[in-house]
Amino acid sequence: MDPALFVENLSFSYGRLKAVQGISFHLNPGEILGFLGPNGAGKSTTIKMLTGLLTPDTGSIQILGMKMSLDNPEVQARIGVCFEEKNLYMNMTGRENLKFFSRLFGLKYCDVDTLLRRVDLAHRADDRVSMYSKGMRQRLMMARAIINSPDVLFLDEPTDGLDPVSSRTIRNIIREQAVRGAAVLLTTHDMWEADELSDRVAFLNEGKLYVVDTPDSLKMKYGRRSVKIRLGGGNQVREEIIELGAADAGDRIRELINSDNVMTIHTEEATLEDIFIEITGRGLDV
């Protein structure tokens, strides 16, 4: 299978500040790649280069086998972008915004109503966007990003600062798009979201790409394979950690469960944040 997005040795500097330093990765159709990194790691700069807004200092970007550039409408017609900043036409209604963009994509028919229903905005379709809440605007931006059924979808912090309901709607749409076959590149500093949505995650810090792998593989590689069992007896509560690799691990777990003193059992696998810190030496919320 040819990758939907192929990036090789991409670099960009703002003056003397090296924002992105020689990153390479690929993204397959139907795959969600989570770009994890703290603020200033280079995630947004990478998205700007991938969407053609910035011209890289070095490296190449191929989308669906075509070279990416801002003056290549053929590529732009097949991508969808949802920015972190809210950039809608505030004096247009939600419906007008979507219809306007559908015309720019040259779509002969666009079922705007279905799209508005999908992002729970059908009841406010004819209100001006200036009257929308933050969550509603973000949902409308998501609808706009998928209006052309893109083959590659770029999402820059799509759920940042949103209420749980709006976040869930957006996450569901991301999954649907991947199931449809779109390659999704998602930047976030929310490791829980990345873990839940991403088929693979990429760790970006200070413009460098440290690792690209599946969350499970990273957890296996960097996390502890152990179980923490809390036991209660009388007024005393004690914890026992059993390494899963140990020869007698199964017997010991069974023994404890049969003791009737088990209060809780937790797996002790590492979170993506733990792994990120271990690999980059820096936290995600910095």
């Binding site: 703002y14 700007k48 969407t51 053609g52 807004l53 910035l54 801002l70 003056d71 409408p73 053929e74 732009q76 017609a77 991508i79 972008v81 920015f83 900043e85 809210k86 950039n87 809608l88 036409y89 505030m90 004096n91 247009m92 007008e96 306007f100 963009f101 015309r103 720019l104 994509f105 040259g106 706009r144």
Partner: protein
């Protein structure tokens, strides 16, 4: 560049434009300026002398005054009504013609003639009317006037009324405000609201955006210029020359608008640019209003090359061949300015992404 995408952008701008107070103001501006011009320069500074007469017997004097050109005559039904007319400043001067007045004049009795005037009337108008009345009385008395007054116009420039002289200035104002401000403002709004980025990640290119703003600005400006000329009664018998002049002027102004729009990152910077530089563009107007100034200086301004033809066509009836050279220069300036937009648009694109 794609015509379909440009048209889609224009249709979006049209929808947004009619919801923008600034664009709406630009659309009604020619009407407001024309109205102000009529009030200030025609009704206030250039009114005809007004005389009100009470004449119970329809004497020869009132009949003679009726045919005099250049004054506005009204009649009162009674001396009280005439007084009211004067008090309300509806006439500069009032005249009560007593019964038998004209006969008394003919008989050489030198009857008394009373003028009533309002404090609000212009002294010049009172003098004009007084002289006209005395002239009429001489005719009634069958006296020869001591001299024949022949009206001779002076320098052609000087005989054009100030209100008419200002017509090219109003058109220039429309050109500057609509022609420059519409494309510039629309570009800056797209940048300020981040929608330009949203457009650039669709198949729309920077050229599509710039061309759509320029085309909308061009159409609006040409239309508003012709509306302004029509409102001021200045649509001459030279439609080709007039159209060519307006088109050349609009091209120059639209190109300047695109330069402003690509340079300014936000509305505040745009207003600063407009306020500081537009005064330079309006410079040639000073040379038409004050003809004593060295006229060659006007040629330094890029706007001179279409304002001068506009002045010649609307006020002097010049034909296309007479203004074609200046229009070609104006068009050349417009093309040069358009070329300048290309590197500025690349700079804008970089700034947008950073």
């Amino acid at each position: 560049m794609s015509i379909r995408r440009v048209w889609s952008l224009i249709s979006g701008d049209l929808r947004l434009g009619f919801r923008s107070p600034i664009i709406l103001w630009l659309l009604i501006m020619p009407f407001v300026i024309t109205f102000l011009l009529q009030v200030v320069f025609v009704a206030l500074f250039d009114p005809e002398p007004r005389i009100c007469i009470y004449d119970s017997e329809e004497s020869d004097i009132s009949l003679a005054l009726e045919v005099v050109e250049g004054i506005r005559l009204s009649r009162a039904e009674s001396p009280a009504e005439l007084k009211e007319y004067i008090e309300n400043n509806n006439a500069d001067l009032g005249l009560v013609i007593e019964d038998g007045f004209c006969q008394a004049v003919r008989d050489g009795q030198k009857p008394e003639l009373k003028y009533f005037f309002s404090g609000g009337s212009l002294a010049s108008n009172r003098i004009v009317i007084s002289l006209i009345v005395l002239d009429v009385l001489r005719e009634i008395e069958n006296m020869e006037t001591p001299v024949d007054v022949v009206l001779q116009t002076g320098d052609e420039e000087e005989t054009i009324a100030l209100a008419r002289k200002l017509i090219p200035a109003i058109v220039l104002l429309v050109l500057i405000i609509t022609g420059i401000f519409v494309p510039a403002f629309m570009l800056v709004e797209e940048k300020e609201h981040g929608t330009m980025r949203a457009l650039l990640v669709t198949p729309v290119t920077v050229s599509d955006i710039l061309f759509s703003k320029a085309l909308l600005g061009f159409t609006m400006t040409v239309t508003m210029c012709f509306i302004t000329l029509a409102l001021n009664g200045a649509l001459s018998g030279q439609p080709l020359a007039l159209l060519a002049t307006i088109v050349a002027g609009t091209v120059v102004c639209n190109a300047i608008g695109l330069i402003y729009g690509t340079l300014a990152g936000n509305a505040k910077t745009l207003y600063t640019l407009v306020k500081s530089l537009n005064i330079l563009l309006a410079g040639p107007i000073l040379f038409y209003l004050f003809t004593g100034l060295p006229q060659w200086i006007a040629k330094i301004f890029p706007t001179y090359w279409f304002i001068d033809p506009l002045y010649s066509i609307t006020l002097k009836g010049a034909a296309f061949p007479e203004v074609s050279f200046k229009l070609a220069v104006a068009l050349g300036i417009g093309i040069l300015l358009c070329i300048t937009v290309v590197p500025l648009s690349r700079r804008m694109q970089r700034k947008l992404a950073e």
